[in-house]
């Protein structure tokens, strides 16, 4: 089992630790629901050192990635970030990722659970391309600050970089906690404003503690993976192993913003399969709420009368909406906003209502 450099810090904070994707990680420090509320109303700090970080340098980094990813890498301006996926030829998702376009290559943030497979997948497609692939996961820490006060907290510790000028899904480099060249991106997985920062791994405990101290006046709290999952579900964001996996393609998962069928991108792995699915999708992803007490869980089946029409892929109590929520796949034809369905919970039925995603969207300033 891997541990992040912050493992002992989490234990000292009395976090409940769980095994996640091969890593020993904090699932919650406090009440999971209170942690969600903290991020929605103030600011929270996340240890994301388990996430995979890869760089691809060399003259052919961009063209090679345009063969492998769903998004159009050559179109990303230097300093910008886009969401994309690796897919198989049949359109099934191998992973989803963030693509950072740099002057001399690409930096990728991938899921911890898929990092080894991603690396193998990339390396098996480098023939004929001038590229150098490097795994930075163990040498770099990754932390996220999420919530409306993120900028105020991070700016207190950041020199030579005006965070207010850093736009959403852009990145830059600055001096944070005295460390030069820290990668700072305005990204996150919560639906709130926020930042993700990357710096030498050994500095993680110091930076973590300085961020908590700087955020004290704003009510900052450390946030575990449990609340992170609820936050992303409220915001309608996909999680690998739930909304997407090798059996669930990004078209039916409604991830069109991360897929480019532009002619100029050329052929890419999964393109023809995904085009065919787009022309004739079988199922659609939807949000679902329920007034019942039971929490939707992955795998619960959905019915209209006696007809099975779909299934739950993620579910949670939502403190923001004050109801139980889920993301579900339903057969095309049953995917209208407002459709009433019944969820089978281990033999008992609970009535639910479908709605368009996301459940929660931050009001733009």
């Amino acid at each position: 089992m891997n541990q992040t450099t912050l493992h002992d810090t989490h234990v000292a904070l009395e976090a409940k630790m769980v095994d996640f994707a091969g890593w020993r990680m904090p699932v919650q420090y406090d009440s999971l629901l209170d942690e969600v509320r903290t991020v929605r109303s103030k600011v929270g700090l996340f240890d994301l050192c388990h996430m995979g970080r890869l760089s691809i340098k060399g003259a052919d980094a961009v063209p090679m990635l345009d063969r492998l990813t769903t998004n159009y890498c050559a179109k990303i301006p230097v300093g910008a970030i886009r969401y994309g996926l690796f897919c198989r030829e049949d359109g099934g998702a191998i992973d989803d990722l963030l693509v950072y376009r740099e002057e001399d290559g690409i930096y990728l943030v991938v899921n911890a659970s898929n990092c080894a497979e991603d690396l193998a997948w990339i390396r098996s497609h480098t023939d004929g391309f001038d590229v150098e692939v490097t795994d930075h996961t163990s040498e770099q820490a990754m932390l996220a600050l999420q919530g409306q006060d993120s900028q105020s907290v991070l700016q207190k510790l950041t020199k030579d970089c005006d965070l207010s000028s850093l736009k959403y899904y852009r990145f830059t480099f600055g001096t944070v906690c005295g460390l030069p060249n820290v990668r700072i991106s305005r990204t996150g997985y919560t639906g709130e404003d926020g930042f993700e920062i990357y710096f030498p791994d050994a500095e993680a405990p110091r930076v973590w503690n300085e961020l908590l101290a700087a955020g004290e006046e704003f009510g900052i709290r450390p946030i575990g993976l449990g609340a992170r999952d609820t936050l992303r579900l409220e915001a309608g964001m996909s999680l690998y192993g739930h909304e997407i996996d090798t059996d669930h393609n990004p078209v039916e998962a409604n991830l069109h913003f991360g897929i480019s069928f532009a002619e100029e991108k050329g052929d890419w792995i999964g393109r023809s399969a995904l085009e065919a699915i787009k022309a004739q999708p079988k199922q659609a992803i939807m949000g679902m709420t329920t007034d019942g007490k039971r929490v939707p869980r992955q795998g619960y089946r959905l019915f209209v009368g006696e007809e099975e029409v779909g299934y739950v892929v993620s579910g949670s109590v939502s403190p923001t909406l004050d109801t139980n929520i889920a993301s579900v796949y339903v057969r095309v034809g049953f995917d209208a906003d407002g459709t009433e369905v019944e969820m089978d919970i281990r033999g008992k039925r609970q009535s639910c209502r479908l709605q368009n995603l996301p459940f929660y969207s931050r009001t733009r300033k």
Binding site: K16, V27, Q28, D30, S31, L32, L33, D34, G226, K293, R294, V295, R297, S316, V317, R346
Partner: protein, 132 residues
């Protein structure tokens, strides 16, 4: 130390014999696994109707927290004679007092084979290993 006036199961139920009936509940360890000490994280508890016949190891209910669902299994065979009606609306009782006010069901047992079950010291030992 947990109460010594009762027996414990590997799945973290407790059984307290009271004449020809027995009270069944779940331990503080089980509650903590579900909600990590945050009573607000418990969301649902489903208990059986009175008169329900139960076999040994039969699932008689479910308890659910924000993060997971656990079955409640009967360590004894018998008939449910009473259900703690307070619990379904006041799950916080399970956090504050799992041993007395937090009992779940009372059953009139037809078999009382408690030898397979643990006493408090043995349960303590098992739990300390699970906490690793």
């Amino acid at each position: 130390m947990r109460p010594e006036d009762r027996k414990y199961t590997k799945s973290h139920e407790w059984i307290k014999i009271d004449g020809d009936t027995a009270l069944i509940g779940i331990t503080d360890f089980a509650v903590n696994e579900l909600c990590s000490g945050n009573e607000g994280d418990l969301v649902y508890c489903d208990l059986p109707e009175p008169d329900r016949e139960l076999e040994i190891s039969e699932t008689f209910g479910e308890i659910e927290s924000v993060k997971s669902v656990s079955d409640l299994d009967s360590p004894l065979a018998g008939t449910v004679v009473e259900v703690n009606a307070l619990i379904e609306e006041h799950l916080e009782i399970l956090c504050t007092d799992p041993w007395d006010k937090g009992w779940l069901i009372r059953i009139k047992y037809t078999s009382k084979d408690l030898d397979e079950l643990m006493d408090a010291a043995e349960y303590e030992e098992m739990v300390s290993q699970e906490q690793h």
